[in-house]
Amino acid sequence: MTTREFDGIQLERVREFVWEIPQEGDMRVPARVLASEALLDEIGGDKTLQQLKNATHLPGITGHALCMPDGHQGYGFPVGGVGATDVEEGCISPGSVGYDINCGVRMMTTNLTYDDVRGHEEELVEALFANVPSGLGGGGVVESGIDTVEAVLSRGVDWALEEGWAVEDDLTHCEDEGVRPDADPGAVSQKAKDRGKNQLGSLGSGNHFLEVQRVTDIYRDDVADAYGLEPDQVVALIHCGSRGLGHQTCTDYLRKIEKRHGDLLADLPDKELAAAPAGSELAEEYYGAMCACINFAWVNRQLIMHRVRQVFERVFDRSWESMDMHLLYDVAHNIAKKEVHTVQGEERELYVHRKGATRAFPAGHPEVPAAYRDVGQPIIIPGSMGAGSYVLRGGEASMDLTFGSTAHGAGRLMSRTQAKQEFWGETVQDELREQNEVYVKAQSGATVAEEAPGVYKDVDEVVRVSDALDIGDKVARTFPICNIKG
């Protein structure tokens, strides 16, 4: 048997791209890493594997604690982590969802081609930057009071529809039609709502961005047809989350759990894995609060997307409807959802924690929106500013291998502090412009350096593993034209 070892942690090769850390000591289940040898070398280079091992201690964890091919060190559960816990006998873990609840990505298609946009890149990037709030303290697309925040938390994209920031079609192309019915705005603190008030419709900073892209490759014609994708087509990709409101909500529950369930926490190897026992008052409250934050994040991305439509109208001097600017799909990266999965022949309801991982339900699954049920759920995997992004579809093997999940991005390789030593924002910007014809505009040069293409893993390799394992199959590749960030 092939084995690999990193810092005393042994992995056994189960089959191609599947590595297992056997169960030992207080681990409740074994852990698995889905990676090629090259990606495993990177994953083994920081504390990802130790964090993955720690996650196997969560009460009620089922099957395996999993690390997707883009996994890297985070806090508590590693980024790229998937962990399913029993809804009745397990726990729900805010730290295993992450601070940025429903951080995610959406893609909007258009009927424009790359040729239509060429010559307008400068104007487009300037107009997007001027009209889509980003960075710290940049406000939001809408000025909102506390009543608006409450409405958004309970009604999600339905609120946006009523206010003229969405059309029906946007709802039918979003997970859960853009509304989590389990949302409980009363479980979200006043502090969190105060932070959310002036951030509704804003990108934030860090790795969040808005990109106009062109489709460079199609790998599966029938699925691409169903998704409305074709070569040379222009699309827009939006990556952001629930902003300060979500960050505060995670923080609040982490502290509440620490105070009320200290006994459970004492048995966990990392405080950031803080979990509320299934059925406890805090588990219910957190689930309601998290679902409300999911709604907030969907509306956040919806407002930005609708603002992008308005910017395109101005730049190309025609209506967005005439440019067929439709939501392809919206995927969540940081989320825990009650889902039914078959475990060892038995149907069980589980909290599936995905932290830096994307749901990847295959064709035929009842939770895939009707528009895509015949081909599988769209998955959007963004790469760096200098690399392609991918559209995948949920693969047949995802339910058996990964609780219906795959990767969420390229995955970081280099720290932000090191990136700022190695790269200079303006140089990165100039090189992208000259060598790749990518127009970048950011609030902060440091952000450009921290997000330089060189700090990420090879997204092609991440997608290759997902495709080969049949958890998420390659449908199309896109490449940036314009990128704005905080």
């Binding site: 060190q73 710290l136 900073s205 090191q418």
Partner: protein, 151 residues
């Protein structure tokens, strides 16, 4: 008191030292500001905050969380932090102040949240981490702290 930003694959870590606990947590808070902004102007008014928590790590966590909250609701970057820490009843208390630089005056990046990941707050060079029940008196080596911030 001093701080240093340290490498972390996805996020940013702050390592800080101080002669006493107050200086040490204030140095971490200055590190939080540095993680968001490279060049800090002299503008802004000072504001005060008081935070209580059940233990030292919890106090550091809640103090930084409160600064992030103040940043978002006041629209300022809290810099030039000053703090004093003392025992209060069963727990700990920090009385602190910061200069709030209007966000409009700076190009700043978001720090989403403070984390407990790898958090340390203890006496420098001590063999054993000081428990939260011991007294926060300064000694020759002072105190040190380490915090990972979610970016």
């Amino acid at each position: 008191m001093s701080y240093e930003l340290r490498s972390h694959t996805a996020d940013v870590a702050v390592a800080a030292t101080g002669d006493d606990l107050g200086e040490t947590v204030a140095a971490v808070a200055d590190g939080l500001a540095a993680a968001m902004c490279d060049e800090i102007p002299e503008t802004g008014e000072r504001f005060s905050l008081t935070v209580r928590a059940e233990g030292l790590e919890a106090l550091l966590f809640d103090y930084l969380d409160q600064l992030i909250y103040e940043r978002d609701v006041r629209g300022v970057l809290p810099v030039a932090n000053e703090a004093s820490v003392r025992e209060a009843g069963e727990g700990w208390m920090v009385a602190a102040s910061a200069r709030g630089v209007p966000l409009a005056d700076v190009t700043a990046r978001d720090v989403k949240a403070v984390t407990y990941s790898e958090m340390r707050i203890e006496e420098a060079d001590s063999e054993e981490p000081r428990s939260s029940s011991s007294r926060p008196e300064a000694d020759d080596d002072g105190w040190e702290a380490y915090v990972v911030l979610d970016v």
